[in-house]
Symmetry: D2
Subunit: 456 residues, 4 copies
């Protein structure tokens, strides 16, 4: 089934004393697992010495207890979950990237996508640099390293590097003595900071990871901000802050983040519920029940129900045990995979006019199968509501939506799509409403995949 | 974390022609995976020849595509998911049990627990039988085999065997030429039958597995019924039907089954919603929001909201990626595992008086941690409602609740438990209401774990 | 490449105190690994309680340290290495077979092959017995169990069972309190007994396993003898001894056993050297150097050199790292696999007339490739000498030579074979000489695969 | 048990057409497996595009058929086997190292050890280079890359790089269009070139790998020579040839290489046999039999027998199935591991005065255990002869002998060692004789580990 792919989740922790940080990182990364399931890794800094392990697989597969035990104790640790690129050497493309340069070791975790990495790579190659991976992270490592030669400290080197690299990046890195985190000047990817009751400083892509490790979220990093933690305390470098207009990826609210995460002061669940409200206002339906496609359609469905007054129902049950399943040999079985992924609750649906809320339509095939399943369960009508606008443009900042030729909305009108998926009516969230999900300045967001207005 | 363990899920399919049944069985078993995650297995009957594979692990782990491919095509197949007993030889204890006896091969899948297996085993041993496993299934295989020597057909042998074996059992088995299914005379474990549009007959523990393979549920097997499928068609043997009063395990509605399954005409989701209605009537609360503990508390929470008029909210988000996770070395991290399993949605909870609905309390430790998490997220009050009665007695029919000394309700009053878990109020479903969940005759159910009235 | 397959190696140990026997068994089985590489297993008896583990793979794969640790300590242990039959359920066919019968548990290891297992299996099935494997060991377990019902002790049951089972068998088994070993009345398979300096009694298929665990070989079991070890000491039951003429499989000397093992008083290395002497006498060659095909042709090559006076040379080097290698896609590469398995030493061979000694010819393809390799390395002449007679008949006692239609000697004369493998001359050991390898009564051996005189 | 570790084996092939080279490389690497068992890897160049796979493990483990299949076809391929350094990131330290630089991709395999890698690394770091591994190979990749920026072709870049790097190196590498091989100016590590009948050019560390893939060895690369293969043919660059006196590592003959390999015109088997001749002349013994410790003591034992006239015997049998075995928990069992690794042939040894030939003594513990085993098998006297001189100095060129404090010869005289290992007499090869093993100029070799005369 088609799906939108997020690139990464990052996690970092600084502890006032040496302790079994790998367990904490494993908990944090597991809370971020929804952001990337192809590879996981972590690096632990014990007395300026960095050990690491990374491999393809889920956090629980890459880090069974003996592996965590083997990584030992330390004062600083960083971790990463990612969608690996396909093809050879995927173990090498996993993060953190751990490099040794003239001033010691560096372990780097990156969420996002550079827009000038081809140019930077070319420049570096012309200086005699070699690349062992195809990831942007290796480019960033080089830039920081080269800046470090001309700068008195790793934080000023990072500051200088940020002048060179363009695009979306939330970074967490450890030098021999410091944990650092930074967010690109447009603030396209989230990064939040918190503290544990016993004095650890924690960074993570989402607040749900802070909650999971028992840290209290303190604040989001500002777009363009660098935060440095060491035995001297926590310091902020704000050289690039307020120099540009922030452009948070709106898809963080719509799709990527977990509903219990709070990004820039707004709970993801609330943003999604609000999407439901907008949908109910703009695309009302004469119906008996509102149901959401689990998991990310549930919040908007509840919002639709609240706003419309139509009862909220539990109509689709997700199978929790779908992993990396077999590829069925015959088309018939393959078509049934949606039925394996979820089941319809007949008592909720039978004889009802159903509002069905999902988070997105990419190719349309999945929607078509879900609508059919709802009808097979006895629905009289199916009114499809999508809590995001139609996808029309590629993303250059790290979101791997499908290739343009596969996007149904590129080639078809709303009515055509409605017909193709077999619904009685279809309504998308408008781009304007998408920009208002967080309740703040509509211009605060990047919604280029919907409206083509690229910020860089 | 403490948990209730179900013993098994069974699946069987008869096809009018030879086809790639292993894929269909894998789909069916994955839909039943919630009934047992420790081992999986299937046997495929191709032209009277039975091949099989079974191993510890999830269906997706035990049956990757090449394994399914290797099992080839056939006309009959049976499959099983189970909770393996601990210790050596777990691969042997997995099902189906495939044996060769004087009349050919037999592959047998069993859900339930015999109450007279010790006696039967002893009698068999005195005849010179040897046992290679510790499972009841091996006992059943022997009994059927020995009856087969004295009976003209496998179905009459099965009929004769059912006279000997006591307790809970839903069986699906294949002889060289027939697929058979039967349910114990008390009907303690569910078993449903359906048909695919192209003529296959399918049996499964729950209707969600029929839905998953594209079969239309036809009817539940009657308590005591044997159904036989072969090229001659489908026949029913009802010798033991209506001889006893049915005693379906009430926990099938409360906990084991998937909400989208329909058991004996009642949708599990409906039964759970009804539990919420009863709770709202008998244990009202002055509150702002009703939230369920995912996944099995959600339906009852919605019912509570419906009946009470208090809004339903999404307050807890389950982490989908918790697998067989590491064991954290320190108590502090271990305590946080509930926070790893789910996160609280602050915007739903903050400043609210919360009704929290869960499906059961076993030891109480998990409830205490969830209540604390809800309070930490800012709840003003937490009113705990449990959609089942307190556990007081062991089950002899295949449900592995905790040992009696660990059951909090055995040792403490309602008020004590409320205090121990840190809630502002606590209400359990009454046993009378539990018996009314399916809307049918209250006496139709076994609720011995709650009220100690054992049916056998 | 074609190969002769031995069926099994067995090992058993009784200790006067509880100790970490799994490590000792692992050492013993590794020393017997040449007798079977497809599966390994062991059972440990701690205070009448039997734990076990068995799986496909080499001893080192099936029993890594944590697995040995998990098996704990005990007073008795038995172990087994085997060639698994192909197809499903190979884990089940591995040994020891551990069964529970009316008098307790039994763990049984078997080397050999019954000739009446089909009849016994049929009789048992008619009594209502079920079979979960296709192995003779399950038949033996049943027979012993059924005899145990009528006999006062396990040893008298074993004695009674030996009346029923026909064919080749060396057994090692543990009951709750006793370690027992027995050898079939024809003594077709070897079984040796020894003691460690600290009082353990050890049984093994070959003396090399006793050496490996630090036990001093004491004596071979007599054909037909049962030895029982328990806290009362070691006792022998000789009811079946001297009732038949022993028929040790001559292939134990020629191929199966390790050269450092001593079987019935004769060192295997000596028997093989003697084969070389016979070959030199009956098939002399005018040559410059004698080389053996490693590993099992080396001893006979040395014998040929001694008898003929032609210098012994090291002419072929075996690659130690050939494991379960890939299957090369093209014929050309596949043909080269002999070159991967071993390399020719040019300085030994170049310009020489070479006597090449190998242990057997089955299909002839391997011999042809080795001869070609020797010629490619510069040999002027290649005189092939085979330290066994030509294979002409199937074995019913557990040796898996190729199927008859593939045996080159069935279809071709000595001269034809010589031409087919490209040698300048070819000489096989005569059957008469084969029977004289151990220096004892020529009639003491079974050589049915060569001469068709089946002992049973 | 203590052991000497070789660093690597390299393999490269150029084909006139596109073909399934991964299978050929796997065969070649398996033939070189004795040079390194910790990791294996290969890179295949298809139409200027380089794919690769490398991982810890034996060739057969890292490259099962599906992996070879996945690597596809190509015109050039290089491969490597190595001893991985311990600790994290071993997958990264495996070779080939595949990098992308300004002119395209490069895949590099290296056998040897640089003596100036610390300085080179420091210089590179000062230019802003980052290192992801701790291997010399990454340093070499950088140097070649940086030279490539200033040179018109990859071969002139390699030539320029050879001016910078010091120490022992045999390299095989592929650029987008060329296969190249080179050997350091001292020729410390071997590298041989051959051709297959169908026009492929093959390079390998040892000629046994050429034999294995059906290539005919043509010549050794000259010390300092670069050979370039592309569609234009094979060219040699000899800028550094004859500029220094060659210093081949003498241990290649004594220990590392396979007896069937021919290095610089001398067969390894012959060199070892000659070591036996020297030992027999300088350390005669009044004895009945000469036996070698398998595998690398066998050739010298045969030489000793030839020279002395004492019969050669097969006295120790190696267990072929010792893999990565368990660590026995008790000292007693651990001591027995030598008995697991090999068994004594009693009929060869009993009552005899034995000359026992081994290739080296490192710590002495293994020798002591073997001598004891020979005595336990009944030897009257044991005269130990070692086919190499005593180790006294560390190696800086890639041989990982034990650390100096563990070397028995550093702390003890010949007589003391003889007593410690329990032998009746002990004789080492003299350094002078070691230098004469290949029959050529004694000064042609590096024997620094014995005599401390380091060539660089």
């Amino acid at each position: 089934m088609e799906e939108i792919k997020e690139e990464c989740g990052v996690f970092g922790i600084w502890s006032p004393d040496k302790r079994a940080l790998p367990y904490t990182v494993a908990v944090g990364l597991t809370a971020l697992q929804h952001r990337g399931q192809e590879a996981a890794g972590m690096a632990i800094n014990e007395d300026r010495n960095i050990r690491y392990h990374k491999a393809p697989g889920l956090v629980s597969e890459v880090f069974p207890s003996p592996q965590l035990e083997a990584l030992g104790c330390g004062q600083i640790a960083v971790g990463h979950v990612r969608y690996a690129t396909t093809g050879g050497g995927s173990a090498l493309n996993a993060q953190p990237m751990v490099v040794r340069h003239v001033k010691g070791q560096l372990a780097l975790c990156h969420n996002g996508n550079l827009t000038n990495s081809v140019e930077l790579r070319r420049e570096l190659e012309l200086k005699g640099c070699i690349f062992q991976t195809t990831s942007d992270t290796e480019v960033i490592s080089y830039i920081i390293t080269q800046k470090r030669l001309l700068n008195p400290s790793i934080e000023t080197a990072l500051e200088a590097a940020m002048k060179e690299i363009k695009g979306a990046y939330s970074l967490v890195l450890t030098s021999p003595t410091k944990l650092m985190a930074c967010r690109d000047p447009l603030g396209m990817r989230p990064l939040v900071m918190g503290r544990t009751p016993d004095g650890c400083v924690v960074f993570a892509s989402e607040s749900c990871a802070l909650d999971a490790v028992g840290a209290v979220p303190e604040r989001d990093l500002k777009p363009g901000e660098i935060v440095v933690c060491d035995t001297g305390g926590v310091r902020s470098i704000e050289t690039y802050c307020d120099k540009t207009k922030p452009k948070l990826c709106v898809f963080e609210y719509i799709y990527f983040s977990r509903p219990d995460s709070v990004i820039e002061g707004v709970c993801v669940h609330d943003a999604r519920t609000r999407a439901g409200h907008f949908l109910a206002k703009n695309h009302p339906a004469d119906a008996d029940i509102v149901i959401g496609v689990p998991d990310s359609g549930l919040d908007a469905a509840l919002g639709y129900a609240e706003e419309s007054g139509i009862p909220y129902g539990i109509g689709l049950i997700k199978n929790k045990y779908i992993g990396r399943t077999f590829i069925a040999p015959d088309q018939n079985l393959r078509e049934n995979l949606v039925r394996l992924k979820m089941g319809a609750v007949p008592s909720t649906i039978k004889g009802k006019r159903v509002v069905l809320v999902d988070d997105s339509i990419v190719r349309g095939t999945t929607s078509e199968r879900i609508v059919r399943m709802i009808r097979d369960a006895g629905a009289k009508e199916v009114h499809m509501r999508i809590s995001s606008p139609p996808f029309l443009n590629p993303c250059y900042y790290g979101t791997d939506v499908d290739s343009r030729e596969n996007l149904i909305a590129v080639h078809h009108s709303n009515d055509e799509i409605c017909k193709m998926i077999g619904a009685d009516s279809l309504g998308f969230l408008s781009v304007e409403d998408a920009r208002k999900l967080a309740g703040s300045d509509p211009d605060h967001f990047c919604a280029a995949c919907f409206d083509g207005k690229y910020p860089v």
